[in-house]
Symmetry: D5
């Protein structure tokens, strides 16, 4: 734990967020996401919800202002237009955190898996709600 | 996640609990415990409280019936006889989980650190309450 | 060993099953299967039959309900329509374990090898019966 | 698997038995033995009984004829003179395998643990019977 | 880089400070300190002064309130009572950062080396001033 | 060394032969073969001839009965139809070892190298005779 | 630190610059550059500006005289012809260091990333100014 | 050092030359060659000239008699037909060492780099003369 | 294999002999020697006799002329004064190889094991004769 | 190679000299010194003499001015007062390099070995002259 830093950010996760640069992406994944087989380093946070992790990550990491859609969720299989509760929660957290409006985009299930393969890292949370997955693209930090 | 197993038990923690044998000890530590420098493997569960972890561990791991005091907490510095709330919570969870009454013993702060050095592993939880530390000795599983 | 968990599931196998996510596949292989050269991590259970391992795995891991055929066996070389005894045994175990009917599909020998290359892991059992191989796709665990 | 070699001997176990020399010791341990924390390499054979493993090991490895007591079991805690069934089974297997009579000695529980710390390796079997532990000292193979 | 965290704290240093627990010690060392041979992990910050690093570390890490002297510098060889400018600077930074007055102690050169051997980590800065070394003991973070 | 197992089979070689499954291939190579650069694990047996190694390997490993040509040698460069003495020796050993007739095939030098790249392992013997190379495909072991 | 060598060159950076040969390229990157995900070894110099690092590197490493454009910067996104202050600073340092005039070329943002993927190493500085990135190609050192 | 073996051949270089087989290639490179980034293992001999190393290597390693051109140097950039002094020196050493005449071929600079990528190893010498690079193909050793 | 170097000396063994310095010791051990558990690196030469290995080693490595007894064998258990045939063979080989007479000393079995623990390396040969063990101390090579 | 740095200093040696701090010691050893078994990292410079290496090291590394005897050689066995030529050469190089007179001390052969065990690193040169060994203690670099 450290002062003034959300305590849910583990040493390994802080290392990762700090090492990421402009344009690198990180995945916050729910408990059913195939995170270990996706390729990138998998950081586990079994006791935490995806929403708590999103809030903590956005406290220290800006989203990419160079991209119109700096955050992506997964479409419901068979019902791509529905918005699960957890995705609505993600949007609320983004709205509260943003220094500029950040629009949530989304991807079909297997396209989401494919995009996750080139992420910097994947955080596997203990989120039980299905579709509790979000990809974030890191922005620039100006002095 | 797996069926019928508390979801807070991560793959690494399940591995550890399963690999432990009769008499091996594991430490559940709070967020301020110097777990990384103690020597044994440190398994982080940043998002979970010590009480939630204790409950989950006792769901799959029996305490040692060969020992009169199979679980140990840390004494309050300067007030060894006081019982912090979290220690009382530990005792309640033990009482509810036990197939036989398991008495909590305790150790002075630095003796507790010393005992932790020879543990099988240490779980660093996100427990914010001070003195949220407990050492458990694994018992025998009979067929 | 742990309470309430089949004792045949070794620490490494528990780790693996728990780390797998929705859609990841695991192979239970007989003693003649070329498991070490297939690519994925090979977990050995030399003293156990493939049927005992299947039963233990299904006790903790659900099959994928998103897929019509979440389990695959290997066709007999030169006689693709025959059903070896062990494959019949696999079907019985699936029928007994399932919360929903799971149909066994099958693949030609070299197609089976190819599919195994992208599995999460392969369990090499001590099964002496030929064709004692099965691929399982993990499902979602709902809270 | 190989021809003319008990199939329960896994690649890693064959490696180990072959690499051992005159006077090196190996432990066959039951499922509750604290094998991972003892120090030597731990070879798991979760699906096999201690007696099946002993039989297979003695098929390829001679006991040390230089020592009067080349095999040791663990005394029952609180009743050092009792002979558990599994120890009697060990003796029968030794009698059947031996080219010369090999006497079983025994050690108090913690002395047994201490002796195990300097073994070449420990085999953790799936043996459920308590006290299913035996230390074997390898003999010379003459051309 | 991250928001609201001094940018001089590299990913590895953030990891380290976050992983440290109550009572763990870290050394901030000058450019001539024998940091690589001391034993603990050495984290290099070649471009930074010791004072800039001290300021950044104290922004996220509290000193130990359980100890009367939670910070130690090195005595000048042959003149143990003198106070080099950089040590005076260290004291000023501590005074400005502290939620409670933290007194600087000091150790003879080789005693300082010895104490550094059991630190959690050593940060080798680019500090050119001699005696630019300080040991800090981490305190508790209360929720 | 072990009882009833050819003593020339080293621990690493026994491990390898045992870990191989149906259809995996192993190369027995002469002392001039470019074994280290071929890709597969290289097991050295510098003091042994290729014929002694072949005899020992066939004592524990069956050839693949599913394949008409389960063993391959290297053609003489510039004289593909000639049969070097050592190849004739290989055939004699195969004839003596076989539970069914196993026909030796052969490959042009660079095709042999290419095939060796996907072998399970390569044994580099001390064989001084040129063309002392043979690829063996492992068969099934029936209980 | 060493005599006559800029003290900002850390041991790892000296190793790298010395190991590079004719035509190898190194990237000096600003604090926002995605250096850890680019592929090459990432050497961090969090406390140093990109200009200080460039000056130190050119003190020991010549640019490639075989190439007309041995150094490359990144074009401003959306304004490829503008010359940011830091790029002007880079040019001044090159002019002062050169034994022969070295012309700065530049690449579009993603082409710059692509080129960085095949560099020998990337130095991540603490440079806060955007576009503080430069690729250098090492020249020949004549005796 | 060993008896009867050129003392300039370090343990690692002896290992490498001995492990190479028929047709494997090794590069002797000058001090400016980009050896570390080429791919193969790089063995440094900073204190030795390329000619001294060539002489020592040829004392223990034969060139390939199956190939008309078993040794290759690098063409001078912009002047492919010139023969630098060091290349003439290489030819003299080959002439003196050979049991059969070995003709030096050559490759354009980038073709030489490309060929070096698939070498068994690269020896980086301290040779200051430009174009002090040579690729050697190992021959057969007959008993 | 290399020219003018005994072909039984494998790459790893050549590396080892060359890396050894004045006063370092190497053990040539028979097939029953507990070489893997002794501590030093174990180099296997399963197909070779101890006498063939001794001859090859002495061809490249001098014995220590600073020590009166630069070579040691193991005493026969229970009969320390007897001289096994293989020890007589060792003496003959030493006599033939020496540039100065080298006297064989000997050690009791467990004292020999103890001495072997601090050797540079142990060569495990395929020697079937008991007591086929010898420790050699390397001498100085003068230019 | 780098500009203005002696080309005999390899990347690994530069790394080492730069990482050393005040009071750390490095050994320059002759070709017969038992450098690999001494414990510290061994850096080989097979083609270089001990005197050339000493000269190059002193060009970048100061000796410790806090110690009256910052450099030590090895006494001749049986003649501790004699001064071998190479030791006289070492003294001349020290005299020429020093910013202050540095006196050479010496140690008996086995005391020298013992001191070398705690060095930061050992450089094994190709020096053929006996007693070509020297231990250097690094001093402070003032800005």
């Amino acid at each position: 734990m450290l002062r003034n830093i959300p305590s849910i950010l583990s040493p390994e996760l802080l290392y990762t967020l700090c090492a990421m640069g402009h344009g690198d992406e990180i995945v916050i994944a729910d408990a059913n996401f195939p995170a270990h087989s996706a390729g990138p380093t998998c950081i586990r946070l079994d006791g935490a919800s995806a929403t708590a992790v999103l809030q903590a990550v956005l406290a220290v990491m800006p989203l990419d202002a160079f991209e119109p859609v700096p955050a992506l969720t997964m479409q419901v299989v068979g019902n791509p237009d529905s918005v699960p509760d957890i995705v609505a929660d993600f949007q609320s957290i983004l709205d509260a955190a943003a220094d500029h409006p950040a629009q949530l985009g989304n991807l079909e299930r297997f396209a989401f898996y494919e995009r996750a393969r080139s992420a910097f890292a994947i955080i596997q949370t203990g989120e039980h709600r299905l579709y509790g997955n979000i990809i974030l693209k890191k922005g620039v930090i100006e002095a």
